[in-house]
């Protein structure tokens, strides 16, 4: 995907950096004039993916945002673990496993790229710049 512009932040492997990640997303998207109503889903998705990287991959994540030439928003969270996240369909009484449900519900497409250095989970938000 050809990018019009990109921004990224390296976050410490500490849950205390979740807020920093959200503020990076909010600041960047406001700078890029993305409508406020489009920002909240991106905040939620970025937060869940960064939390997964810190907790499950035990890795310092890199969070990046890009605008495609087609006007879509691409969010990417990379970490140094090749272990793949597994979406779960929690039962009513299950207390966990809802992070990726939020990711799936709030984005248009998502997927995982792996290489020798680790993996990155990418998510697209179609028409975010419309």
């Amino acid at each position: 995907m050809e990018s019009v512009r990109e921004a990224l932040v390296h976050l410490p492997s500490d849950v205390a950096s979740l807020g920093e990640g959200r503020r990076f997303v909010a600041r960047t998207l406001r700078d890029w004039k993305v409508d406020e109503s489009r920002i909240e889903p991106v905040l939620l998705v970025a937060n869940e993916l960064v939390a997964n990287a810190i907790v499950h991959a035990q890795s310092a994540p890199v969070l990046s945002l890009a605008e495609s030439s087609a006007g879509d928003l691409l969010l990417r969270v990379s970490d140094e673990s090749r272990a793949l996240p597994v979406p779960q369909a929690p039962s009513v009484d299950d207390d966990g496993g809802r992070g990726l449900i939020l990711v799936q519900a709030l984005s248009d497409r998502w997927g995982i790229d792996t290489d020798t250095d680790g993996k990155s989970v990418w998510v697209t938000f179609a028409g975010a710049f419309a």
């Binding site: 849950v15 205390a16 979740l18 807020g19 920093e20 959200r22 503020r23 909240e40 905040l43 939620l44 937060n47 869940e48 939390a51 810190i54 907790v55 929690p90 009513v92 009484d93 207390d95 966990g96 809802r98 992070g99 449900i101 939020l102 519900a105 709030l106």
Partner: protein, 110 residues
């Protein structure tokens, strides 16, 4: 900026019922504190407390998980955990997570 300043828990009363008033941002960095506050509310009130979520600016799946755990604990204590006027963003996250209907949600003070 640490999470310390971004969230507040206060014990109060709402419509004569004991309440935990939550404001700010609930994420994994404060999930332990949230769990403790919810546990205290359930323990102190035989599960009959309210959680006022009107001031919640952000909540993630870890926050939803703690609310569900507290709901189960309240039911175990013979009560019911009611949510009071959740903010629009909080309500949306509960809804997408498929758990909003699990809770008794009060739209105004009882």
């Amino acid at each position: 900026m640490s999470g310390e300043w971004d969230v507040a828990f206060e014990r109060s009363e709402r419509g004569g019922r004991p309440a935990l008033v939550v404001s700010g941002e609930i994420d994994l960095s404060v999930a332990g504190r949230f769990a403790q506050e919810l546990g205290n509310l359930v323990g102190d009130t035989d599960g009959k407390g309210l959680v006022d979520l009107s001031g919640v600016a952000f909540i993630d799946s870890s926050g939803v998980r703690e609310l569900l755990k507290a709901k189960h604990a309240a039911e175990g204590a013979g009560g019911e955990l009611s949510l009071l006027t959740p903010s629009a963003s909080c309500r949306k996250v509960l809804e997408i997570s498929g758990v909003l209907s699990e809770f008794t949600v009060l739209e105004a003070l009882p």
